[in-house]
Symmetry: C2
Subunit: 190 residues, 2 copies
DNA sequence: ATCCTTTTTTACCATTTGTTAAATGCGCCC
DNA sequence: GGGCGCATTTAACAAATGGTAAAAAAGGAT
């Protein structure tokens, strides 16, 4: 399964087999079940996940103590708490599996070792994560000032695959509404 | 005024005077009035602004055609439409002055020339812009599932200086509500 | 100071969303 | 099959927010 990670990187840049072997030796593979906690809020995040299969969610509690979903991440996306990972500060967000998932685990120290040995890898991975950061923030911004039904419709159009795989309450918390509201919106749509 | 840009960069990295002179020669200075449009949506963004004084806002229309404020940017922050700037694609967002402002203008071509001559500058500026992207997205996420009054209180605590300088309707559009709602919230707070 | 324009406040009512609680469905284990 | 735990749906009511319109306030220009 780690091959799917290498293959993903090769979509952007040619990676010699020996480099690939080096990368393979420094990362690990992990299966998780729906609901499993991959990173607990309040700690310093020292791992980055590459998702081979499944969906992860980044979660955090809001002022009222409700657990909100900041992002969904799926196949061929990286998942980490970047602010914590980059700057060694405790993260207010956690990471959970929104459905069963298979991951490549990149430990920070080993990743940085790889960056030393393969300088192009740093540019590659930071480039990919920065670009996906831009896309995520664009999605969030596009929800600004839209009513809940519109946000849900846009979510369905943008991420139909995720909508089918995660729970209603996860989607509701991603859209910033209660699960009852989302259930009502679904009813009105049919 | 361009000095304030150089001085800002020097907070992060020592820049020799001759490099500073080179930078100075490749950037320009510009004053704008409140409401002035700095970049019009629908085009490819080929400029980056460094704000010496004042507040800019990134704006875009939502589904209902209302102009929403995605971000406020102020002194010592960069402002551009990064996805458009980096990838040469038309931007759905525009840039306007939320109050009178003074800017250092970085033309893309000249900036890239500088990156060639001063390679550390690329890492410096992309590092700064990536970090501020992380901060912006954290703020947006933290508003998720909060009611309008809470979002407004948090905005006041986080950016009290901006709250004093931009119009009520700009703030309302940043919080995703109507200006009438924000006015009502203000009344209930006193 | 006065007029004019723009911004902000207020009020009223419609709509949306939250809250609480109960009912229903659905899988899983015994 | 029966019962249990969990997710989803429904309902009734309360609270928050939007839409519209108008009044009040604030600035700017002459």
């Amino acid at each position: 399964m780690i091959d799917s990670f290498i293959n993903f990187l090769r979509l952007f840049k040619n990676i010699p087999d020996e480099d690939a072997e080096l990368i393979r030796s420094e990362v690990s593979f992990r299966k998780v079940n729906e609901g499993e906690v991959l990173f607990e809020e309040g700690h310093i995040c020292r791992e980055m996940f590459f998702i081979c299969k499944g969906v992860l969610r980044i979660v955090a509690q809001n002022d009222k103590g409700s657990k909100m979903t900041y992002f969904f991440l799926k196949e061929n996306q990286f998942c980490s708490i970047l602010n914590s990972f980059n700057n060694n500060i405790p993260a207010p967000e956690g990471i959970e599996a929104a459905c069963d998932a298979e991951l490549v685990v990149l430990k920070k120290q080993k990743l940085f070792d790889l960056y030393e040995k393969l300088p192009y890898l740093k540019e590659l991975i930071t480039g990919i994560t920065t670009q996906s950061l831009l896309e995520k923030i664009n999605v969030r911004n596009s929800y600004l000032g839209e009513d809940a039904a519109t946000r849900y419709r846009n979510f369905l159009m943008r991420q139909p695959d995720i909508a089918l795989r995660v729970s209603l309450s996860d989607i509701a918390s991603y859209l910033g509404i209660t699960q009852q509201s989302l259930s009502r919106i679904r009813k009105n749509m049919r």
